[in-house]
């Protein structure tokens, strides 16, 4: 059996870790577009950038050196510090 901890909190939150709150509006926000370096990912991301820009949402582009590994720490930190949301493109 896996290790079991006793909850030290007042148990007001669900046991499972909650996802971060979703954005309710894109106004004044910056969206990161992460290309994981899979072929044609850029097609999707270029179109998204166009759609966001038309709506006045700022966009930053990022890419992973290879789709086979998790993003390097530096890329994750850059996205987390510069963006309010991120869209990661899988493609082929």
């Amino acid at each position: 059996m896996n290790e079991v901890f006793l909850d030290p909190t007042a148990e007001l939150n669900p046991e499972g870790r909650a996802v971060l709150p979703r954005l309710t509006s894109l106004e004044g926000k910056t969206v990161g577009l992460l290309d994981i370096n899979k072929p044609r990912g850029d097609v999707l991301l270029d179109r998204l950038e166009q759609l966001f820009t038309e709506r006045g949402v700022s966009v930053n582009r990022y890419s992973k050196p290879t789709m086979t590994r998790v993003a390097p720490l530096e890329v994750k930190q850059k996205i987390a510090s510069e963006c309010d949301a991120v869209i990661e493109a899988l493609a082929d």
Binding site: M1, N2, E3, V4, F5, L6, D7, P8, T9, A10, E11, L12, E15, R17
Partner: protein
């Protein structure tokens, strides 16, 4: 024929020379028609002379029968224990089994060995597995690939430092530190005003790194924090620096190895470090009070990780803080104070009490702001070398406090807004008044520190002191 209302339980372990020694005795007992249920703790094939040995490698029977020594013989009548004997003592065995002779050729007496069920750490494990311990906290199963230390951080339980993972076994061991029931509610913890049970406090004490014997201090500290006068909610929420400081008085401080000597306010002592931290973790985890949430401190102070020490009563010439608050010297207490950080006060030249009081007064005037009066309280942690100046002159604690109060009395005109080219200050209406720096009872003296160093510590407090905010609260520690 064996008598149906007389049967016996025998608990053994193979790894016990006395159990091995009495193996022939067991055969004699069977031959004499005694009904014997044999349980073996480590080898179900021992002793070989018994056909069906009960396998007690789980130690369930040993735990249920409360076995402390092997061999143990228990005489039963029906399901009820009549009597028991431990080890090998021929006369006892003869009496219990109602026989004339037994184990001829064996020595008369051999002590037994410790039961496997009472090996260190085993009691709690067995109690958890077989006992009636009911813990009510939600159980959180950690995925196989999770690092338990990282899990504690990721779930938001940490103050920023690593936590001891709160496993059931650790919590059960922690709860052994108090006689109080796990489900006893200690109060509602701000800011979420959630009920904190002894169990929840114990879980957080585990995470903080406490030993079980510290738990009564943690519980008393939490109860003190939840007294209305202490104003824990406001103290948490304030933009000011302060957080709860815990001063421990009485015999428990030495009993659990607290530091009241050199570096008493610093790092390095487990009890000092973890008791203060446990209180903060309870506020964080049970109360939901977190920096950036309800904790709005502009800067905070490092004491908000932990701030707990003991008064050095043994070497003090004065009554202790707890005695001043009306407790007896053999009571153990915690006193909580809404404390900022430590401000050093050096005076290496004063050998007369009045001169030293003047030094204290000059430094104490800067608590909060030099132009503030009757706002933050202060604790002076007086070092042994500074206290000696007063004890040599036979000054009582009250005399010192009174003199410092006189020396910190100022005319309102010096303090009001804009005076001295400083916009900050007291309101205009105090211009004609004489104002003490501290409210009545707002200056406290505690003796602690190493034997060398003509320095003491001034610990200023939350500007919202007394009725408008927080007053120090003292509470007795009970086991």
């Amino acid at each position: 024929m064996p008598e149906p209302d007389k049967h016996y339980i025998l608990v053994l372990k193979q790894d016990c020379p006395t159990c091995a020694l009495i193996e022939p005795v067991i055969a004699e007992l069977e031959a004499a028609g005694r009904t014997l249920q044999v349980w073996c703790q480590d080898d179900p094939d021992f002793p070989t002379c018994v056909e069906s040995v009960g396998d007690d490698r789980s130690l369930e029977q040993s735990w249920r029968l409360n076995i402390e020594t092997v061999p143990t013989v228990i005489r039963m009548r029906g399901a009820t224990e009549v009597e028991r004997t431990v080890g090998w003592d021929r006369s006892e065995w003869l009496r219990i089994f109602e026989l004339e002779q037994l184990g001829n050729g064996l020595p008369d007496f051999r002590p037994g060995c410790g039961s496997k069920s009472v090996e260190p750490g085993m009691v709690e494990k067995l109690a958890l597995r077989f006992g009636d311990i009911t813990l009510s906290a939600r159980r959180i199963e950690i995925a196989e690939l999770e690092d338990p230390m990282e899990t504690c951080f990721e779930r938001g339980w940490s103050d920023g430092l690593p936590l001891v993972p709160p496993t059931e076994l650790r919590v059960v061991r922690m709860l052994a530190g108090t006689n109080r029931a796990p489900d006893e509610v200690l109060g509602l913890v701000p800011p979420d005003l959630q009920a904190c049970s002894v169990e929840k406090a114990a879980i957080n004490a585990v995470m903080a790194g406490c030993k079980p014997e510290y738990l009564p201090v943690v519980l008393a500290a939490l109860e003190a924090a939840l007294v209305d006068e202490f104003c824990m909610h406001g103290l948490l929420a304030t933009t000011w620096f302060s957080g709860p400081m815990i001063v421990v008085n009485g015999p428990i401080a030495n009993a659990i190895g607290m530091n009241s000597g050199g570096n008493a306010l610093g790092q390095g002592n487990r009890a000092n470090a973890t008791i203060g931290r446990a209180l903060q973790l309870i506020i964080r985890n049970v109360g939901g009070g977190k920096p950036g949430g309800v904790d709005r401190a502009t800067l905070g102070n490092p004491g908000k990780y932990t701030f707990c020490f003991a008064e050095d009563e043994e070497n003090s010439c004065w009554e202790s803080l707890a005695e001043e608050k009306g407790f007896a010297a053999d009571n153990s207490t915690v006193t909580l104070f809404a404390a900022d950080g430590v401000q050093g006060m050096a005076d290496q030249k004063s050998r007369e009490p009045d001169s030293l009081c003047r030094s204290f007064a000059a430094s104490l005037l800067t608590v909060g702001h030099r132009k503030f009066a009757m706002l933050g309280d202060a604790f002076v942690i007086i070092s042994p070398e500074h206290q000696r100046v007063f004890s040599d002159a036979h000054w009582s604690k009250q005399q010192v406090k009174d003199r410092i109060s006189e020396l910190t009395l100022r005319s309102g005109a010096e303090l009001i807004n804009e005076v001295d080219g400083i916009a900050e200050g007291m309101p205009e209406f105090v211009r004609e008044m004489e104002l003490p720096k501290f409210k009545p009872g707002g200056l406290n003296l505690v003796h602690a520190g190493g034997s060398g160093g003509l320095f003491s510590a001034i610990i200023g407090g939350w500007l919202a002191s007394g009725e408008m905010g927080s007053s120090p609260v003292t509470r007795e520690i009970t086991l």
